[in-house]
């Protein structure tokens, strides 16, 4: 049975976000007869993930519909690229760089320490949805290896002994700043 988008509960619930995505798609002026129209698909998926935090099926259907392509075309692209996720991540996203420069400077131990303290493994989200941990490959700040990013904040030359403090400081100071600036 083909799902129709308009009746999805989450579509109603997130109408504001869908509107934002819709406006972005409008600005692309997608011509459904143009065989090259998919060249902006990855850009759109990035935008959608920024708006929704992840790419649930309803969002995929919405995008497929606007491009005039099949759902499989969209989900196939999403599954290929590491950057895209179809499940929500934590509100606080910890990314530990495991690029070569960071790795030879002990990034694996930093990752293990985050996993130990937050009690989740890389790729998981904590039960309350607050934290998630991912490993990534080189953010290009290798001079600061090992590098950790938490949301948009970058921490360099991280030591295992600092991990707890970094988390605590982020919770007390930086999160507030972020909340204010997003308000």
């Amino acid at each position: 049975m083909k799902k129709t988008l308009k009746h999805c509960e989450s579509y109603q619930e997130h109408s504001k976000q869908f509107q934002e995505l819709g406006e972005y798609l409008d600005s692309l002026q997608i011509d459904q007869r143009n065989p090259r129209r998919k060249d902006t698909l990855i850009m759109t998926l990035h935008r959608a993930q920024m708006i929704f935090g992840y790419l649930p099926e309803e969002v995929q259907l919405f995008i497929a519909d606007r491009y005039g392509i099949s759902h499989a075309d969209v989900s196939g692209v999403i599954s290929f690229y590491n950057f895209f996720t179809v499940t929500p991540k934590g509100k606080i996203q910890v990314n530990v760089c495991l690029g070569t420069a960071c790795y030879v400077n002990g990034a694996d131990q930093i990752l293990a320490e985050f996993e130990r303290i937050l009690e989740i493994k890389a790729g998981q989200v904590s039960a309350d949805g607050k934290f998630s941990i991912e490993s990534l490959r080189c953010v290009g700040a290798c001079g600061l290896a090992p590098v950790v990013t938490i949301n948009s904040k970058v921490y360099g030359k991280v030591k295992v002994s600092q991990v707890r403090e970094i988390i605590e400081r982020f919770l007390t100071e930086d999160l507030e700043v972020e909340e204010v600036s997003h308000a």
Partner: protein, 625 residues
Amino acid sequence: MLEITSPIQLLDAYEETKSLLDLRSGKRGGPQERMILVCGGTGCQASESKQIVHEFKRLIKENGMDERISASISGCFGFCEKGPIIKIYPENVFYVSVKVADVPEIFDSHILNGEKVRRLLYEDPKLKQKIESADDISFYKLQQRVALRNCGLINPEKIEEYLATGGYQSLAKVVGGMSPKEVIEEMKKSGLRGRGGAGFSTGRKWEYASKSTSEEKFIICNADEGDPGAFMDRSIMEGDSHSVLEGMAIAGYAIGATQGYVYIRAEYPLAVSRLQIAIDQARAAGLLGKNILGSGFNFDISIRLGAGAFVCGEETALIHSLQGLRGEPGTKPPFPAESGLWGKPTSVNNVETLANVPVVYQKGADWFSSIGTETSKGTKVFALAGKINNVGLVEVPMGTTLREIIYDIGGGIKGGAKFKAAQTGGPSGGCIPEQYLDTPIDYESLSAIGSMMGSGGMIIMSDQDCMVNLARFYLEFIVEESCGRCAPCRIGNKRMFEILTNITEGRGTAMDLHELRSLAETIMDTSLCGLGQTAPNPVLSTMKYFMAEYEAHVFEKHCPAGTCQKLMHYEIIAEKCIGCTSCARGCPVGCISGSVKQVHLIDQARCIKCGACLSRCKFAAVSRN
């Protein structure tokens, strides 16, 4: 708004803007005039360089000195280890590891009273001397900056500053007075070879694309920079986007393309935003778009983002990704120069390659080819990282030796440890041992010793790094990044990874070493794309030069570098143990016995080598080897 629609106007703009750089090139500068440049690259921004500029601007304003003192961000100075870095012109003073809290002191002392802040000056680790001028820092002395010529010199967000360096004049020369054929000939003569890895002649690539007949052609700038631990391309785009755009426009003219795309990885948000700013500025000025400089040549550029897939750096995969498909590689031939984006002739060029292009026309092919070795012309940027004192970006003439890069420029191995190997070429490359430190590096010499130039990542390793574990690390990367299209790459690399894991965890056998070799051969011979074809290189080169280390893991169950956790051996030194019981309480498998005030003992058969006892013992009574 700047509008430049003819070569004459471009020259006028140059005349108008060139004084912007006078202070920086030491041509001008009353004793009262100062320019403060703060590195605004990803590394330094992470350490708050934005706030530093902000603070300087505030103080300048407060003191009413806007007229003669300015502060601005610049691209990366390359000396990332010591960031955030600020430079003050005209003296060219170089302050390192600057914090926001240091700004008032620098302002009071240096700017107001002409007294340098000595504690923030760079100290030469060998001479143990503070260095007053950036020109005297050994990190820079041996470098020759061609691709990085403007990085750290200009404000990357201002097109005027790029124009002041003579920017876009090569484009004017090319579209105004040279035929596409002449442009290609000049490029061939320069000897410039692709900096993205394979080292193919850029001139010949353009020639193929120009000879393919088609109404429509494309230029793609490959800014995927997938090698983990490399950041040359990022720094060029963050520090000097316009040079890449100018290079693309020249390439477009040469092959007959009217549209260019920059395919850039999403992990580089700052580079994306700088590029977009540059594109907007160039378009507004008329240097991109229709009828560029009145020549009738049309060329425009758009950005497309990647989404975290290493294989998308491979040109055919990149093209698929740009078309909004899964980024799986295709078969070659046909090469992109014949049939690329949407089946049209396409030249895919790397960021650093393109940044070199304007220089070839500005200074001439002869000048360019006078630098370097017989087969490899010009310079190469390396991202120096790992166990090295001066982590950063280094640009040297081809033919420089590894020893010069590591010891003279890089300042030697961190913490005085012993050099073990340099890894170049990332997951496709290999490890170079000490006996080859004096090899003059170019494309051929690096291949001859089992590594490759690659895109420029250079990771330095010391005797505390295990080569088997490093090979395992790269294989893990490959297993995650293989697109899975062909079996040898998908299954073979997985198998190699499993074997290497077994070896590093003490389960290796003599057979494993044979199997690694034969798997490597099959994978290299039968994989479809460069990812698979080169994936076994890190294993083969470490086996070639560090076989003894493999054997120690396999036969003695011992890791000489002391990094493989599972091969560690924990013991309690009876003379030192006071019987505090801390280790026994912390052992997750309860394999430490002993009661209070008695010497404790580890049951080796049950020990899982977690290291908890070592970190819990306050009396240094636990040994690990």
